[in-house]
C-alpha cells in the first residue's frame, strides 16, 4: 500500500522573529490560513489516507503535530536528534515496511507551498507508479521558473517511458551562471518529493549508504535512539540518490516553493500593484517591493522600497529583502535576550 513520509523537522530561524523553536516555519500559515504542515497533509487527500501518513519531527513539535494534523498518535515518529534527511527517511521507510511489508513510500517535506494540488497528486501518483514499475528510486523534478542558486538540479537522462527518465546527474546549489545553463539544458529542480518501494529503498541503502545501513540492526532491536546514535548525519541526496544507479526522474509542472526566506513570501502570496506583500494590518503608501508581516501592530510604510518588515513576538525586524537569505548571520550577531523570542 501507499504510505507518505512527511519530514517536519526544522529549527525555525529563517522566519525570525515569527518562527521560533516551538513554532517553526512548517507550523506557520505562510501561504494562507493554514500552516504548510496542515496543507501538506490536506494535499494528499485522495492519494494517501491519513492513517498511512507518517510524520518525522523532533520531540518539541510531536504533540502539536499530532493534534494539528489529526493523525494516529503513533504515526508521528519522534527523532531523538536531528540527523539530516537520510536517517529520517530510511527509518520511516523501515517503519512503513514493518507495518506493511509491501509498502510504497512517497517522501515529502512539511514546509512546501504548492500551486496546484491536483497536478501535485497526479505527479506523485506517476512517481509511485514508476517506482513500482521500474523498481527505481524516483525523484520528482520541478520545471524551474528562475535560475535559483539555492536549490539542487536534476539533469534527466534517457527515457524510461512516457513520464519517466533516468537521471544523468545531480547538481547541488549551482552558481548563477551554471543555474542558467542548467535551465537552458532542461534540468529540473530537485524538489525533495521522492517515491520508492520500501524494499528497493532499503536494498539500495544496504549497498550505497553504509553511514546509515550499519545502524539498521538497532531498529530491528527496537532501539531508535541507538539507531540515531550510530548513524552519520547525511542527506538522502548525497548519501543515496547521487550514489545509486537505480534512480529515475518524473517531471512535475506544478508551482512548488520551499519558502526558504522572508523574500520568498513575495512568490507565494498575492502582491499589490506596487509589488508589496502585506500579511496582517497595515498601510503601504508609496512603498515598493516590500514584504510585511504583522502579528498585531498596524505597520505603516511610507516611501520605502525593498524592505522586509516583520512585527511578531515582541520584536520588529527591518532589513533589505536581499538579506533575507542571510538570516543566520543576523541571528548569530544578536544578543540572546533579543534573539530568543521564547526565553
Amino acid at each position: 500500500m501507499r504510505w507518505a513520509v512527511l519530514l517536519a523537522g526544522g529549527s525555525g530561524t529563517r522566519f525570525w522573529p515569527l518562527s521560533t523553536p516551538r513554532t517553526p516555519k512548517q507550523l506557520l500559515p505562510l501561504s494562507g490560513a493554514a500552516s504548510t504542515a496542515e496543507e501538506s497533509v490536506e494535499r494528499l487527500t485522495g492519494l494517501i489516507p491519513r492513517e498511512r501518513i507518517l510524520v518525522v519531527a523532533g520531540d518539541a513539535l510531536a504533540a502539536r503535530l499530532r493534534a494539528l494534523l489529526k493523525l494516529p498518535a503513533d504515526n508521528v515518529l519522534v527523532e531523538p536528534r536531528p540527523a539530516s534527511t537520510a536517517p529520517a527517511l530510511i527509518w520511516a521507510t523501515w517503519e512503513a515496511r514493518r507495518r506493511d511489508p509491501d509498502a510504497e513510500v512517497l517522501s515529502l517535506h512539511a514546509d512546501w507551498v504548492v500551486g496546484d494540488a491536483a497536478a501535485f497528486r497526479r505527479t506523485a501518483d506517476a512517481a509511485l507508479v514508476t517506482a513500482r514499475t521500474h523498481d527505481r528510486l524516483v525523484t520528482v523534478g520541478v520545471v524551474p521558473s528562475r535560475p535559483e542558486t539555492g536549490y539542487g538540479y536534476i539533469v534527466p537522462g534517457a527515457p524510461l517511458d512516457g513520464a519517466a527518465r533516468t537521471v544523468a546527474r545531480f547538481s547541488e546549489k549551482p552558481d548563477a551562471a551554471t543555474a542558467l545553463d542548467l535551465m537552458a539544458a532542461g534540468a529540473l529542480w530537485n524538489s525533495g518529493l521522492f517515491a520508492w518501494t520500501a524494499d528497493r529503498l532499503l536494498a539500495e541503502v544496504e549497498h550505497r549508504t553504509p553511514e546509515v545501513a550499519r545502524a539498521i540492526p538497532r531498529l530491528e532491536q527496537g532501539d531508535v535512539p541507538g539507531f540515531f546514535d550510530a548513524v552519520t548525519p547525511i542527506s538522502i541526496d548525497v548519501g543515496l540518490l547521487e550514489r545509486s544507479d537505480a534512480v529515475a526522474v518524473v517531471s512535475g509542472s506544478f508551482a512548488w516553493d520551499d519558502v526558504g526566506t522572508w523574500q520568498a513570501l513575495a512568490r507565494v502570496r498575492p502582491k499589490d500593484p506596487d509589488g508589496n506583500v502585506l500579511v496582517g494590518r497595515g498601510v503601504l503608501d508609496e512603498a515598493h517591493d516590500c514584504v510585511v508581516w504583522s502579528e498585531s501592530d498596524a505597520v505603516v510604510l511610507w516611501g520605502v522600497k525593498d524592505l522586509v518588515v516583520v512585527q511578531a513576538n515582541g520584536r520588529v525586524l527591518i532589513m533589505p529583502t536581499e538579506r533575507a537569505a542571510r538570516m543566520k548571520e543576523l541571528l548569530d550577531a544578536l544578543p540572546p535576550d533579543i534573539r530568543d523570542v521564547e526565553a
Copy 2:
C-alpha cells in the same frame, strides 16, 4: 515682577504614532527622561518662580499639565479653542497684568530642547532687562547652526546697547539659498523666546493688532470664550512683531531646537558611531543614520540606512528620515482606524 508664559498647545501629529492628542510632543521625553514641558519649567528655576509661571493649553491637556508641572491650578489658562500665538500670548500677558500691574513677561514654548540652561537664563534675563530699559518688545535670536528652512530669521539692525539691537527685518521660512545668505549676513533664528512689559505689549497690540485688540474688552468682562470667539487667529510674529517699530533683538548662543520632526531627534539625542539614534530596546546592525524609537518591542535593524522607525501605541511607522517633515501628508492619507491611535 517677572512672569513666564509657557505656550503648551499643539495637537500631536509630528511625532505620530508616539504623539497623540492626549499626549502631544510637549508631554513626551524627547530629549531625555522628562517631558519638554517639565524641562521648560525646570529651566526657569532661579529666574522666575513657579507661582508666576502661566501655562496656556487646551482643555484636553490642562489637568495633566497642572499635575505634571506642579503649578497653582489657576496658573494653567485653558484656551477654549486653538487660535495661534497672538491671542494666547496677549490673553496671558493681560492676565499677568491683572494679577500684577507691573508685570514683565517672558514668553516661551513647552516643546523646546535647550542645550545650556544657564546660558538660556542669562539670555532671558538680558531680554527682560532690555524690555524694561528700552521699553521694547524683545525677541531672542539664536545663532543658527545650519541653514534651516523651517524657521523664521531675524536680521538685526542698529545697536541699542551691548546686548541688544533693533530689528532690521524678519524673514519667515526662507528657501535654502536665502537661508544661507541670511546666515552669512548674521541673521538669527527667531526662537519664539520673547520678553516685554505687559504695559508695552498691550499698548502695541492696541495700535498694531486689531485682529485681537478689538476683543480685549471681552477679557475685561471676564468672558474668555467671548474673547476667543472674537479674535482672528494670527501669530504674534505676523500680527504684531513684524508690524511694530518698538522691537529689539538680543542674541543667545545656547543650543536651541524645537524638535519639529522625528529627524530632529538626531540633533538632541546621543548618536552611535554610525549616526543612529536609538530610544528604547533594540539592535542596530550595519545600520546608518537611522532614528529609532521603540515603546515596547525590541527593534532590530540590519543593513538599512536613513530610516525613521517608530513602534508605539500598537503602530509601527517606517519612512525615510527625509520625509519626517511631511508627516501631515502621511496622516491625511491614513485610514482613521490606523491613524487614530486613541480611537
